[in-house]
């Protein structure tokens, strides 16, 4: 079952403060991802991997093409959807783990993850279990992550991203600041997510991690080279 279907996606940036310089990053990108499949975006720096991932989340607004995602039983085109539809898709369907945690002052790690885990009675227990699995000790759960190390913040971010149980998960270098033991945990979590039928698109610079989780690699090239 197709979870994501990208067709003819084009995206560029016009830098008005630099004399209207126009940067074309994506042109004619097509990509299909099935439920239960993990696709890794690969290619050199500047190939548009992050741009594509952010376009899939609706953060970067597409200039051309369609980004269809399966949401509540039908395919919704994020490239044409209004703000409320995109929010609804993000709430139920589309999860995103950014490279860095955007820290909210005073909100404890556990609350950040529990908020993503849902509103049911078990949400907090699931959040706690996820944090422990990602080696965030219980003593830290009640603290705001502002003072945590980079690796700890990334693990809180991962716990939040996986807590939502979204059918589609977008991962932007989820293991960049992690040690070997935590990388192995993330690999196991991605595999479990796939087994549970979730579709995953990720950027994994660590090739061992990529080989361990990806079913397919989507190679990207910078547009100037491709042209």
């Amino acid at each position: 079952m197709t979870a994501i279907s990208v067709r003819g996606l084009g995206k560029g940036f016009t830098l008005h403060l630099q004399g209207g310089l126009r940067l074309a990053v994506l042109a004619g990108v097509s990509l299909d991802v099935a439920a239960g499949e993990c696709v890794a975006l690969a290619g050199p720096s500047g190939a548009g991997k992050t741009t594509l991932l952010r376009a899939l989340y609706g953060t970067y607004r597409a200039d051309a093409g369609a980004i269809l995602v399966r949401h509540a039983g039908r395919m919704v085109d994020l490239a044409a959807a209004d703000a409320r539809t995109i929010l609804a898709v993000r709430a139920r369907t589309l999860g995103y783990v950014s490279q860095f945690l955007r820290v909210v002052p005073r909100v404890p790690a556990l609350a950040i993850v529990a908020e993503a885990a849902g509103t049911d009675a078990g949400a907090e227990a699931r959040a706690r279990a996820l944090l422990l699995r990602l080696a965030i000790p219980a003593a830290l759960h009640r603290l705001a992550p502002a003072t945590f190390s980079g690796g700890e913040q990334q693990r809180v971010n991962l716990a939040r991203g996986f807590a939502g149980a979204h059918p589609i998960l977008l991962l932007d270098e989820p293991t960049s600041a992690l040690d070997a033991a935590n990388r192995a945990t993330v690999v196991a979590m991605v595999r479990e997510a796939k087994a549970a039928g979730r579709a995953i698109v990720g950027i994994f610079h660590d090739e061992t991690v990529r080989d361990a989780v990806a079913d397919r690699v989507h190679e990207m090239r910078p547009l100037r080279e491709a042209a």
Binding site: F13, T14, L15, H16, L17, R54, G58, T59, Y60, R61, A83, R84, I86, L87, R102, V104, P105, R106, V107
Partner: protein
């Protein structure tokens, strides 16, 4: 729940608003950003029915109710909305608070204006709301003149939210406060707004505040909306030259 079309407003020869459309859904936080003089505060006052626009309309829909044109409402009806279903948080809390009335009185007064009569219950509610905004309940009988700037702003928020409004207008609620005081206030607003499901129109020049609180952003320049979208779309993929200038002018959001 709130929708405006074609709003125009002029101060003499200066155009403060031109052809502005706004839509707000229940429980949604919408940030209006732009620099001083962009028309954002004028827009807030027009949306709240405090300023009558020269052109265009604002409609408000009550839950399961009819749609009413805000500027065509009889004044008593608009006042009643402002006393309970709507709230307005001023940048300067001294404009909204009665400085010669106790903290508890300031909160209780709005409950009484909304129809509450039982003194014991009003005082208990006032105490509960002081605690919600992290003001020591022992200060309930103190006058706001003895409060710090951050406490005054928290007191104004308690006074506004005590009637559990559906819609709150906020004009630079963290403006003029120290950074550490701002963080506490932002967290408080974020928590309360989410828990109570309040819709907010938030005017701010601070993109970090918009990022933290709002799901959607409208960018204003010289009285016009030049860009709008989800907060991350507008801040991470700004398209209009003015939005790009705003985003590039801050260190980090």
């Amino acid at each position: 729940m709130l929708s405006a079309r074609g709003l125009g407003f002029r101060f003499g020869s200066i155009t403060a608003l031109e052809a502005v459309d706004v839509d707000l859904w229940p429980g949604e936080v919408l940030a209006v950003v732009g620099e001083s003089g962009s028309g954002k505060t004028t827009l807030l006052h027009v949306l709240a029915g405090r300023l009558r626009p020269d052109a265009g309309q604002v409609w408000y829909r009550e839950p399961d109710g009819p749609r009413t044109e805000v500027h065509a409402m009889p004044l008593p009806l608009l006042r009643r909305l402002h006393r309970s279903d709507w709230g307005f948080v001023e940048q300067d809390p001294r404009q909204a608070l009665r400085m010669d009335v106790s903290a508890g009185g300031n909160v209780g007064e709005r409950l009484m204006a909304a129809g509450a009569r039982h003194y014991g219950r009003i005082r208990a509610e006032a105490a509960r709301w002081l605690a919600e905004v992290e003001i020591d309940v022992a200060r309930i009988d103190d006058r706001p003149t003895t409060f710090s700037g951050g406490m005054l702003q928290r007191l104004q928020i308690a006074r506004t939210l005590v009637t559990e409004p559906r819609l709150v207008f906020m004009d630079e609620p963290t403006g003029g406060l120290d950074v550490s005081v701002q963080a506490r206030l932002l967290d408080l607003i974020r928590t309360l707004v989410r828990r109570l499901g309040i819709a907010v129109v938030l005017v701010t020049h601070d993109l970090a505040v918009a990022r933290l609180l709002a799901a959607r952003i409208v960018v204003m320049q010289r009285g016009r909306v030049v860009e709008d979208g989800l907060t991350d779309q507008v801040l991470d993929d700004p398209r209009h030259p003015y939005t790009q200038l705003l985003v590039s002018s801050v260190l980090a959001t």
